[in-house]
């Protein structure tokens, strides 16, 4: 049931949709178009899930493209594909697509065309980020998300939207420009070493290339800084609360749900395999910053009078867990980190949706303006309590699975100091209960202090359609996370093996060990398992990378 280039369709269908919305006449037509396009994209992306071969989850599947992007003088390719890690993130992105469109249905009432157009462009950027296996292509998608988000905040945002939007763009751009420098350098160096002198940003060639120890550290810093700002890690997080508070609900959902994951994804996908020595050296630093983020984010969250800001700071805390899991270098913690990216996307996305629904009813997000509304909005209360509990890591809901795997994995990490860091990180489970239950109790319980809260309407059908799938996934992934975990595990396992092999190899050894040591072994290509048989006709879209290249050379 393979559709050719299904991945390119999933990636670019929203962009095509953006063109359609620009052609649409009425506001309603624009909304319907956007909903239809994002829903279609999601449905097509389900084929990625069903067609994904779990047995080969470490391999690149649904490979699309492969041709040179600029010219033969540069080995920069249009190459999309997904392994188990990308699969989950792509599905998260496509799932949130229609949800965000629906959540904006009533709230966005001016410049409707612009809003949905940007939203759709944004989705292409986000999807591309998780599928790109060429670093320049990744960079293009990475930056492509920036501009639409800038406008989403700057035009449809709150009072101080310009400030927040500019801050968001400048901050992220500063990081990513540094990364661009590193990419160019890396492409050149790798080209010299493994690509017969031809500049290359091909992911697998960069993985194959052993970056000399002397340059690893600063290249790592340039990459990691860009991603640390995106995550955001303490102390680079201050753009986030501003951006969230100012952004319209849809923007916040995308921001928390997907954009932040680009940072953690980048750390996993690039920083670890490209610069394993530097990553190991800096592991304690990153772990420490992550743990500070967990505790600091939670405490500052508790101090917020504004519900949206509270949720924004909770992201700093939650993503600290993810970063800790990544830099603990154990399979269990890395798996936890990957699944926690999805969990956070679902539950924090839902929290922003719910805060947005409250805002649409009362035009305030100050918790003090609410109180006792559980009586008037039982459905909204139910979903908020469920989501808050998922976010607080209650067993049986999704957040627990990620947190537990991260913590139990990090605790057993062989990196000195990681055990102590994990113990500190675990206090996050207490702190999360404090700020989330505080929020629930302020908004939903206690006496009704304000007449307007007495008559608040409960969720309507559109809002239920938004929330039910998210709630269902939170429960499903809490009770039965295995189908998700087993799809990403082969990929994370292979990544970690590669990183550890590189780490244990003598530094500065010849840069093409695989070629020198086993020149005739077709199974290993840049450390990634590639199917031995070159038969591409019936490989269900999992075009073995090596044979694909051969095919293109002809």
């Amino acid at each position: 049931m393979q559709v050719p280039d299904i991945l390119s369709i999933v990636t670019f269908l929203p962009l095509v949709g953006a063109l359609l919305t620009m052609a649409a006449r009425s506001d309603q037509a624009i909304r319907v178009t956007a909903l239809a396009v994002t829903t279609a994209t999601f449905l097509i992306s389900v084929l990625l899930w069903t067609g994904f071969s779990v047995a080969d989850a470490a391999e690149l599947q649904f490979v699309s493209g492969g041709f040179n992007l600029i010219s033969e003088a540069y080995d920069i390719r249009y190459l999309l594909g997904i392994d188990g890690i990308s699969l989950l993130l792509v599905l998260l992105t496509t799932l949130l697509g229609p949800i965000v469109v629906l959540s904006s249905w009533k709230y966005i009432d001016r410049h409707v065309k612009g809003y949905y157009t940007l939203l759709l462009i944004l989705q292409t950027g986000m999807t591309g980020v998780f599928c790109a296996f060429d670093v320049v292509l990744f960079y293009v998608f990475f930056e492509l998300t920036l501009i639409p988000m800038y406008f989403l905040i700057g035009i449809w945002g709150g009072e101080e939207r310009i400030y927040a939007a500019v801050k968001f763009v400048i901050y992220t751009m500063a990081g990513s420009l540094l990364m661009l420098v590193a990419i160019l350098y890396l492409g050149h160096a790798a080209g010299q070493a493994v690509n017969d002198g031809l500049f290359t940003t091909d992911y697998f060639k960069l993985v194959e290339y052993n970056v000399p120890i002397s340059t690893q550290t600063w290249l790592f810093v340039l990459f990691a800084l860009a991603f640390a700002i995106k995550v955001p890690m303490f102390p680079f997080h201050t753009w986030l609360p501003d951006a969230h508070v100012q952004a319209p609900t849809g923007g916040s959902v995308i921001l928390a749900g997907v954009l932040l994951k680009m940072g953690t994804y980048g750390l996993v996908r690039f920083c670890l395999p490209f610069f394993p020595h530097a990553a190991a050296e800096q592991a304690v630093l990153f772990g420490t910053l992550a743990v500070i983020g967990i505790i600091y984010g939670a405490l500052v969250s508790r101090a917020q009078p504004d519900a949206k800001k509270l949720v924004a700071y909770s992201s700093v805390s939650h993503l600290g867990f993810v970063v800790l899991g990544i830099f603990a270098f154990t399979l269990t913690s890395l798996q936890g980190a990957v699944i926690q990216m999805i969990n956070h996307g679902l539950s924090t996305g839902a929290l922003f949706l719910l805060v947005g629904m409250l805002y649409e009813r009362r035009h305030t997000r100050r918790m003090a303006d609410f109180g006792g509304i559980a009586r008037s909005v039982p459905l909204l209360t139910f979903f908020m309590v469920l989501t808050a509990l998922a976010s607080a890591g209650l067993p049986g809901l999704n957040g627990f699975v990620g947190e537990f795997l991260i913590l139990v994995g990090s605790f057993g990490s062989s990196i000195p100091g990681m055990t102590v860091l994990t113990a500190f990180a675990t206090t996050g489970v207490i702190l999360a209960a404090i700020y989330l239950l505080w929020m629930l109790s302020r908004i939903f319980f206690g006496p009704v202090r304000n007449e307007e809260n007495q008559t608040m309407p409960d969720l309507n059908r559109r809002e239920l359609i938004i929330l039910v799938p998210l709630a269902a996934l939170m429960i499903l992934m809490g009770v039965m996370p295995q189908p998700f975990l087993e799809r990403s595990e082969p990929a994370t396992a292979q990544l970690l093996e590669l990183v550890q092999a590189k780490q244990s190899a003598a530094p500065d050894e010849p840069s093409r060990p695989s070629q020198k040591n086993m020149p005739d072994d077709p199974v290993r290509e840049g450390g990634f398992e590639v199917r031995a048989e070159p038969d591409t006709s019936q490989t269900q879209g999992m075009i073995p990378y090596a044979s694909m290249l051969q095919a293109m050379d002809h």
Binding site: P148, F151, P378, G396, Q482
Partner: protein
């Protein structure tokens, strides 16, 4: 039916009840009014599992049976299954949870009648039983932890059930957060076990425990014990339980007396073979239990709210159970869990019946135009209720005698066994056990005193509410008194499952001891020095004397002082009274040293620091950027589509380039 099927049904029926009673009425409000249907479903999904558990019990089985269902989560070398374990320990707990649970569900039909959230109450209660069954039936620590946090959630939801009062919601939050502090320790214990043993399943832990270093073992047991102090309300994490009385009374009976709060004891019993390897921590467990028992008993003397007396009494009785665990007598701890479930549930449900009656009084008074203060839970305004509520009074009295340890009641056997085991442990050369034993004897005396006080203030003497001559309550309906009768009978007779060693002379044996010891779910220490029969008889006489003496003391005291509330207690105990009345200022202390510093630190230091310093540095740069980007800003207004178009064009150009 095979054991695996039965277990699946036992666990899943309450879950189905929670879904039926919770989700359906949530989405279809017209269903919320059908109390009869909701109450019947809610009770049936607990009663059927009880019957199934009884069947399993009667069938008997020779070996612990593990019933795996599916892999819950696995990553790398770490993997955990949803698997249940049926052995003598889990079966006894299942019987208590579903048996007492079913009675309390039945009771709630009458008690919650007319409440607008009747449906929600039964959904939460069903969910609670589901979680509690996961806790006691789990075959590994993680599923146990699922139940552990799950019952904590239900406790949170039910304490805050009447959330319109902010106090209740605050009490709920307090309970959850304090439990989470314990859970933090529980999590760390699991992390250590995974690192050392590689698994969380009980069999793997038991097999791998002796390969751990002494330090690691002590750490694991200590952390698990700290977790237990949270759930089972021991020092230092006990202050949430009295506040938890904000929940409806059936909740106090089921969750905060009979079942959930005994989870900590269950955990220690389940892990008993590991706990026994950490003798230093065992001493800490026993001493903590003893001190908690004494502290809570003294506080109970000075309480005037009938439910708060019972709450502190629960803390105190749980302390007794920890004493037993700490001297290695885990099966006695479980024995006391069982008898306590009977008499404390009976007491709480009895107090609920009383409160029900006093509410009726209040309604009548209000109807007649009385608008002074009236607290239906304050014993100072009760008195003489035996005339109006004879069945409630009888059952409350029986349960009071049982908890006081009057000979041949359930509480007598279990408490006596705890004290005996502490004595024996001391005799065996563990000095701390003497301390534990002595505190236990003293606390037993206080227990008889404060419980008799609560009985006297409530049921004896003259009625002290306003216009008492004209307005009076009447007895509760059968759904309330029925469960009371059953529980009172069990409070009388339930102790015979654990006869003292002395009974061996008569050819009788301690059933619960041999039941829990067979096939080894509960480990124990074999005493090396034997307490002689004469000494045992002496101890039993001492225990009986203390119980009878305490009851007699309180009876005399309150009969003489005409039951006028606690004025005389204040005189009698002087300066201590203030400390008892205010719970030794424990809450105030935590407020000063923990809550306030954290909240103030977050609000007054961290949040300002975040915007002034962390963000301040960034803004210095951002402001520069703002100035330089002002041009871009001018371009921005109103030409969004143009920008979108530009981006699209850019992409098109890119694609064109790719093709070329």
């Amino acid at each position: 039916m095979g054991a695996d099927r039965a277990i699946l049904l036992i666990v899943l029926l309450p879950a189905a009840g929670a879904v039926l009673n919770g989700l359906l009425p949530l989405f279809w409000p017209q269903l919320r009014r059908s109390e009869a249907l909701i109450g019947t479903i809610g009770t049936a999904v607990i009663a059927v599992p009880f019957v199934l558990a009884v069947t399993l019990f009667l069938q008997g089985f020779s070996e612990p049976e593990v019933v795996p269902f599916y892999t819950w989560m696995g990553a790398g070398d770490f993997s955990v299954s949803v698997a249940y374990r049926i052995d003598h320990l889990s079966l006894i707990m299942t019987l208590v949870v579903t048996g007492v649970g079913a009675l309390i569900h039945l009771y709630s039909i009458g008690y919650m009648h007319g409440d607008r959230s009747f449906w929600k109450f039964f959904a939460y209660l069903n969910l609670f039983i589901f979680m509690m069954l996961n806790l006691v039936l789990a075959d590994n620590l993680l599923v146990l932890f699922l139940g552990w946090e799950g019952v904590g959630l239900c406790s949170y939801l039910l304490i805050g059930f009447w959330y319109e009062d902010f106090k209740n919601s605050a009490a709920a939050t307090k309970a959850f957060v304090m439990n989470r502090i314990g859970d933090f320790a529980f999590l760390l214990a699991m992390f250590i076990l995974v690192r050392e043993v590689g698994s969380l399943s009980f069999s793997a832990i038991f097999a791998g425990a002796d390969q751990m270093s002494a330090g690691t073992l002590n750490a694991v047991v200590l952390l698990l014990f700290i977790g237990a102090t949270g759930k089972s309300a021991q020092i230092p994490l006990f202050t949430w339980l009295p506040d938890a009385m904000a929940g409806p009374t059936p909740v106090s009976a089921l969750i905060h007396a009979a079942t959930m709060v005994t989870s900590g004891l269950y955990l220690l019993a389940r892990m008993s073979s590991v706990v026994l390897m950490a003798p230093a921590v065992m001493a800490a467990i026993a001493v903590t239990g003893a001190v908690t028992a004494l502290v809570a008993a003294t506080i109970a003397i000075a309480q005037t709210d009938i439910k708060r007396v019972l709450a502190y009494s629960t803390v105190s009785q749980l302390g007794f159970m920890f004493m037993a665990s700490g001297v290695g007598a885990f099966f006695v701890a479980i024995f006391h869990v069982v008898t306590h479930a009977f008499f404390k549930a009976c007491l709480f449900l009895g107090s609920g019946s009383v409160i029900h009656g006093m509410h009726h009084v209040e309604r009548k008074l209000r109807h007649e135009g009385y608008n002074g203060a009236f607290d239906p839970q304050d014993m100072r305004t009760m008195g003489g209720l035996k005339r109006f509520m004879p069945q409630t009074r009888l059952t409350y009295m029986i349960a009071t005698l049982a908890i006081s340890g009057i000979p041949l009641t359930a509480g007598f056997f279990s408490k006596d066994e705890i004290l005996f085991k502490a004595f024996e442990f001391g005799y065996d050369g563990h000095a701390f056990a003497w301390f534990v034993w002595a505190v236990g004897i003293g606390t037993a005396l206080l227990t008889a005193f404060y419980m008799t006080r609560s009985y006297m203030l409530t049921f004896e003497g003259t009625s002290r509410w306003p216009r008492a001559a004209a307005v009076h309550p009447h007895e509760s309906p059968w759904t309330i008194t029925g469960p009371l009768m059953v529980l009172a009978s069990l409070s009388l007779a339930g102790g015979f499952i654990g006869l003292p060693k002395l009974a061996e002379k008569l050819g009788l044996s301690n059933w619960i001891h041999s039941y829990l010891a067979s096939h080894g779910p509960v480990a124990e220490i074999a005493a090396t020095a034997h307490v002689s029969t004469g000494m045992e008889i002496g101890l039993i006489l001492l225990g009986s004397l203390v119980a009878v003496g305490g009851v007699w003391w309180a009876w005399r005291f309150f009969a003489r002082h005409e039951l006028a509330g606690d004025g005389h207690i204040r005189v009698r105990f002087g300066g201590l009274y203030r400390w008892w009345k205010r719970s030794y200022f424990w809450d105030e202390f935590y407020g000063k040293v923990a809550v306030k510093p954290v909240i103030d630190g977050a609000e007054k230091a961290l949040a300002p620091l975040d915007s002034a310093v962390v963000d301040g540095l960034v803004n210095a740069v951002a402001r520069m950027a703002l100035r330089t980007s002002s041009m871009v800003r001018h371009l921005q207004t109103g030409v969004v589509q143009a920008y979108a178009l530009a981006i699209v064009l850019g992409v098109v150009v890119l694609i064109a380039l790719m093709a070329g």
